[in-house]
Symmetry: D3
Subunit: 255 residues, 6 copies
Amino acid sequence: MKISYVIPGPMSQGPLGPREVARRQDILRGWAAPDVEVSVRECPQGPASIESAYEEYLSVAGLAAVLTELEEQQQADAAIVGCFGDPGLDALYEVTSSLPVVGPGEASMHFACMLGRPFGIITVADGVVGPIERVAAHAGLDGRLAGVAVVDTPVLALGENPGETAARASSAGGDLVRRGATVLVLGCMSMAFLDLGPVLEAKLGVPVVNPVHAALAVAEGRARFRMRHSKTAYPVPRKLAAGSRLSSLLAGPTA
Amino acid sequence: MKISYVIPGPMSQGPLGPREVARRQDILRGWAAPDVEVSVRECPQGPASIESAYEEYLSVAGLAAVLTELEEQQQADAAIVGCFGDPGLDALYEVTSSLPVVGPGEASMHFACMLGRPFGIITVADGVVGPIERVAAHAGLDGRLAGVAVVDTPVLALGENPGETAARASSAGGDLVRRGATVLVLGCMSMAFLDLGPVLEAKLGVPVVNPVHAALAVAEGRARFRMRHSKTAYPVPRKLAAGSRLSSLLAGPTA
Amino acid sequence: MKISYVIPGPMSQGPLGPREVARRQDILRGWAAPDVEVSVRECPQGPASIESAYEEYLSVAGLAAVLTELEEQQQADAAIVGCFGDPGLDALYEVTSSLPVVGPGEASMHFACMLGRPFGIITVADGVVGPIERVAAHAGLDGRLAGVAVVDTPVLALGENPGETAARASSAGGDLVRRGATVLVLGCMSMAFLDLGPVLEAKLGVPVVNPVHAALAVAEGRARFRMRHSKTAYPVPRKLAAGSRLSSLLAGPTA
Amino acid sequence: MKISYVIPGPMSQGPLGPREVARRQDILRGWAAPDVEVSVRECPQGPASIESAYEEYLSVAGLAAVLTELEEQQQADAAIVGCFGDPGLDALYEVTSSLPVVGPGEASMHFACMLGRPFGIITVADGVVGPIERVAAHAGLDGRLAGVAVVDTPVLALGENPGETAARASSAGGDLVRRGATVLVLGCMSMAFLDLGPVLEAKLGVPVVNPVHAALAVAEGRARFRMRHSKTAYPVPRKLAAGSRLSSLLAGPTA
Amino acid sequence: MKISYVIPGPMSQGPLGPREVARRQDILRGWAAPDVEVSVRECPQGPASIESAYEEYLSVAGLAAVLTELEEQQQADAAIVGCFGDPGLDALYEVTSSLPVVGPGEASMHFACMLGRPFGIITVADGVVGPIERVAAHAGLDGRLAGVAVVDTPVLALGENPGETAARASSAGGDLVRRGATVLVLGCMSMAFLDLGPVLEAKLGVPVVNPVHAALAVAEGRARFRMRHSKTAYPVPRKLAAGSRLSSLLAGPTA
Amino acid sequence: MKISYVIPGPMSQGPLGPREVARRQDILRGWAAPDVEVSVRECPQGPASIESAYEEYLSVAGLAAVLTELEEQQQADAAIVGCFGDPGLDALYEVTSSLPVVGPGEASMHFACMLGRPFGIITVADGVVGPIERVAAHAGLDGRLAGVAVVDTPVLALGENPGETAARASSAGGDLVRRGATVLVLGCMSMAFLDLGPVLEAKLGVPVVNPVHAALAVAEGRARFRMRHSKTAYPVPRKLAAGSRLSSLLAGPTA
């Protein structure tokens, strides 16, 4: 089984560089089931990191292009969107039909609800609190959300001092536990790849869901059992159904 | 008072052409209060029409560019997003601070709730039912929504045969009334500029909210009374706050 | 355009006297659009001030009498109920048909939802917290309400020491912000006419909705675009439809 | 134990006359527990019948006057408001402190929820559907409400042809069962005193809650066990707490 | 009228012994209406006390056996389940048809909602907080629940030091009041039989619902007025309807 | 990785016999990932089939005994409860700590929400509709549930005529699609092992979630990534924490 993990921007050309992309692919391969081959794909165009709703929307066109290519060329049995905010997930469901596309945000929240209630989310900064709350609402799980707390660190700086990041995440998680959270979710893929779960579980005494784990479990399940998304709920855009190419949907000078 | 109505794509270069843009500006000026001057702006880049969540997301970057320019150059006291789906409204609130930005979808739904309950929405096609339901949820009004019904006509064809469009809208509206709607909303700006309200009201016996009317009322009110959106709820994206230009947030070859 | 602002009791005969009625009319005229003429009307019979659900109900008959007279004699294009608690708004919708009647409570809350989320309400005293929460529920917006906080001052004393009132409102507003409010609403017309918004915005850093502003914007919009309320949702009372006069609906010795 | 059943208007002076008042008192005495003495009280002033939200509000002052008199003179251990719409129940809780006041609407809905789910309500006419839905929302039980259906008969005519009324109630109840109701509530006191429950139960196969039964059970329980309402939730109106008389709260010429 | 109070285990053979069973029967008889005879029944098999969801489920078979026997032999006009958690109430509704079965948890919560809002629940230990929250959700009243606080004492030790128990209950109740509760519920039958209500009411200034009181009021009402539960909502299990005995539904070696 | 599938009763001694148990184990092994070994376990004591809430509760003690044995003897990395109604899942979470226990009902519903909205459930008979609705509420997903429809066939007869069962399931599923379901769930393990998904998907045009698939995906994910349930949310019962054996929690003659 082949799973593609799609980073929503040209990470290898940014400050983290190809080394971080390779590191994430190694981690993904270590975490996946033995019969699963994970490949990391980058979107040629996209935000350097996602710290706002605006940057989420900026990433949708690039993700759609990569995902439809994966589907058309049958390069993957499932694909994971590489951002916890599940940017444009409804649109990505619209433009694909047979390829299972997995949003790690909603996948994590669904797993969290199976572990305890209510759950809390630790994320990077104020700018994504609103977008994450909207993912919870989209998943229908906002009623179970105790809160979202932030470590208040730029995404690209999270890995510079993992100890500091863990300490801040632990403090944010402690706040959420005091607000009633009985299970926590790491609300950022960069935090997920730092594998902060075990240290937080030891400190805070509650389970911590890693969105990469949750997304892999959902992707493997959907691929293995061919659980496709509903085209009634997410119909193919009319112009695509009528034969237009995805890239032609954006009109204007540079399209 | 100056209000800018921003069309999320290059309409004048599409099949409807500059004539339709001019027609809409005339209508807007006729509907606005005497002391209000409305100007229509087009986004140089954007979808030809919006019939899916995907096309909504495609329109966000163009809208953000125009709105931030309006704000920086103080060309408007308020701006209306020219799509009923309120594409990327949270992101547009993020990138602006002093300019009131109005989403006609949520403006209409709020007015509808002040006229009756529950309310129903008549829109163009299946592809935007899900996105419109999400606008209702974002506005916190999904509990009042009796349903969304469609005329099943491409956006760009709505004006070709206004009688046919009115008949289909009346049929869709009748369905909604039977499902309990006590007030209806025209869920598409192209339907709004056909001014279908009076004929539907006469036929169906319930009030019909025109999203252009609702958006103008909200825009005038927010401009007159300087009701700015909350920057606590919609903070400026971190990279912009740190001095980056909006256009630099999209990394990659053609950004 | 003519808008009537209806005070739900004989204010000019109470401690505030005709001077306060005149002061409010001046403020309303200053705030309305240039083509709008606002007149203040008092109900001959009604509570001296409204500080409980009981006094809200006491005000309904007087409001209904004035509003139906305005409608019958075509003296106004829209009317604003002069109490934040929107007393008997459903009944006032029942007894009118063509006159737009605006409840400043729900108008403010709808505007607040367009500025941020969640929102909080600053009001006068414990006695109206429950009634205001019911306005939020009636508007369908209780899910967005962070809380209601009080300045704990009798309504008629609010204007005696505006500095003290502002300080208490600021303290109540600060509490609400700590409870998550990203936008505030002044939950009392007497506070609205003290124009506490700007000073609170400066102190607390969040937008503050003035219910007079919100009610004017809704009234102007509904009048300009003839947005009538739904008679399906709020049917004319059977006895009135059968020809009874409003005043005859109350049977008994002094009716 | 003494229970007072308070009719919200001068029924004995209306078309139904003293005979109907006496008939209801007989029925109440037959239904109450052996140690309970029920007395019927009429409000000297109030609507002839309640068929709209407006008439509900008209009845509040009269009810408050009677209930506070009952409390002050210790003439009752509990009182039942004689209208299914629970008119002004929050206000009636405000103006009383030690006397349990029972709203038959919410009492019935709470019992219905203990018998099955969802429940439906059969009432008289369109004019009270909205008010009854608001009682359900006030009781926190709107999520369990399958719907409200009407027999479409004026209140004062319900008893003229009991067979016809029963047939119409059965038809309305059948509609509700098809919409999912597993238990029904008679949503009008005049229907309750026709004792339509047994015939509807036999026809429709679901339990039918009689609001007089439910109100008696709640009144007896609250009186026996001194279950008073919360003055934190329903504080005494400030002016009353400061010594004003109830009747002085309405200012103006005839107050 | 005969009401059976069914203790979900062999209490007289446990540490509290027959004396406590007799004491509870005396209290019940003192609290019931004059024409009501209350008998206490014990389940021969069941948990010694209920301090977890697991022990709730363990008690269902024993309760079902006793309740169906009461129904078949017409030994009672109504029965009260002797555990605040309403263990298996839906199943107990399934296996009975004419006998009203009352869950004191939901009965108390419905009464609490008629006294104030929101309400809080004081219970014994962390282990039943989740189960009690599920009773509130089952009753449809979770939206009114301010919280559940614990005295943190084993059920069987509550009566050893009533003063200590009252002090702890008062502290827990104070917490709930600070979290917004305007009325409290004693969330454990052993606390109910200690009659902690009056002392807590005096200390905390809010009404306190005793679940024995609430259950008696509901049981008396349902018996007096023959309010049966809905067999549409709680159908007889298919195998029982086909003639199997209740005891044969558990297959296996010792069934 | 070892996964145990626990049948909540002695199926091999019932009418389906050891052949059906073996058939299910074969199917499970065929569906699991290559590195996963699935074993079927039966509970020595439990209902012959589960067609009511009552039979669900009857199965809890047997399930708890098997699951705690699996945990203590480290015989499994995860366990699946072999009933769609997730009987006693909260209790099973209480009595285990390190063993992931998976409820196929909630697992399926979470997957359904990731495929479309709203979703519908096809199950066997009226007797389990209520229990399944409570699983949806427990999972927090009742807001996404379009409905539950039944094939109206005894569980043990489902496999006798698979064609008939498929036809009835297709009819029930069609009803749900007309009620708005965009994805369906097979709401019974016996239907799941008939693998009705592909034929229903072909007929109805919407995805169909098989609860065995969903449960396997969740079990594999939770086992692989050691996602344990929260002991804060589901604490160990006090008596067990104090050293009692699980079997001693049921007092009385045959315990």
